[in-house]
């Protein structure tokens, strides 16, 4: 491992933070996906139609995305490179989304944006330390 010469700093904690957040949101997404697939009556949708796709398709999309996010979160703990790439991209998308949301709820948006910034910093500059830390 080329990164084995890297010193482990306190920032590695933020890598684990990102891992836990991804795990949590992935599990929640899997649950909403399964709800749509197994008991679509749970969602009060008229005629089974939601935005763009029907509820079953959305159920599968949530399920697959949720599984990807959970895998990414789990892999972050081992310091896997692909997990850091995916996690940084997710954080970038999240940050830009909340930028557009500033007018609706400034304090909330700015809080999330700062957290995203910290996570991106930790993952890019100190992400390799998780592999050493284990």
């Amino acid at each position: 491992m080329a990164r084995n010469n890297q010193e482990v700093t306190g920032w590695v904690g933020w890598v684990y933070f990102a891992g836990f957040v991804l795990l949590l949101s992935g599990i929640l997404q899997i649950i909403s996906g399964l709800s749509a697939l197994l008991s679509s009556d749970f969602y009060a949708v008229v005629n089974g139609n939601v935005f763009l796709f029907n509820i079953t398709t959305w159920g599968w999309i949530h399920l697959v995305l949720g599984i990807i996010v959970v895998c990414t979160g789990t892999a972050l703990f081992s310091g896997a490179t692909w997990a850091r790439v995916v996690a940084v991209l997710l954080a970038v998308i999240n940050l830009v989304t909340y930028f557009a949301f500033i007018s609706a709820y400034p304090i909330w948006s700015i809080t999330v944006m700062v957290l995203d910034l910290v996570v991106i910093y930790a993952l890019t500059v100190h992400g390799g330390e998780a592999a050493v830390d284990n």
């Binding site: 080329a2 990164r3 010469n5 890297q6 010193e7 940084v88 954080a91 970038v92 998308i93 940050l95 830009v96 930028f99 557009a100 500033i102 007018s103 400034p106 700015i110 944006m113 910034l117 991106i120 910093y121 890019t124 500059v125 100190h126 992400g127 390799g128």
Partner: protein, 131 residues
Amino acid sequence: MAKNRPTAWVGWIYFASAMLLVAGGIQVIAGLTGIFNADFYTVSQTGNIVAFNYTTWGWIHLIIGIIGVAAGFALAVGRLWAQVLALVVTIIAAITNLAFIGVYPLWSIAALVVNGLVIYAITLHGDEVRE
């Protein structure tokens, strides 16, 4: 040192790359808002330092944003020209964001903070990746 051997400091260039993606994405949103939903900007057009109309501003933001996103991806490859391009785009972006600050302070400030992080990461840590 072997060219493609990653060590600790290479992380900074990925940080700069991610920040440039964010800055570009932010500016694309500001641009699309100006083009398609200019009423969103409630300040009268004269409240702007440089009094183009919002459609013109929208296109300026959109184009700079798209170049910024492209430069962000190029940065991750670690080429010198990508760093130069990224710096130039970010400086231009910062100036346009500053000129736009009277229109929507929170958006401009958020964008400027991210622009500053890009410049910091590239100027102070960019040369390390070129060793």
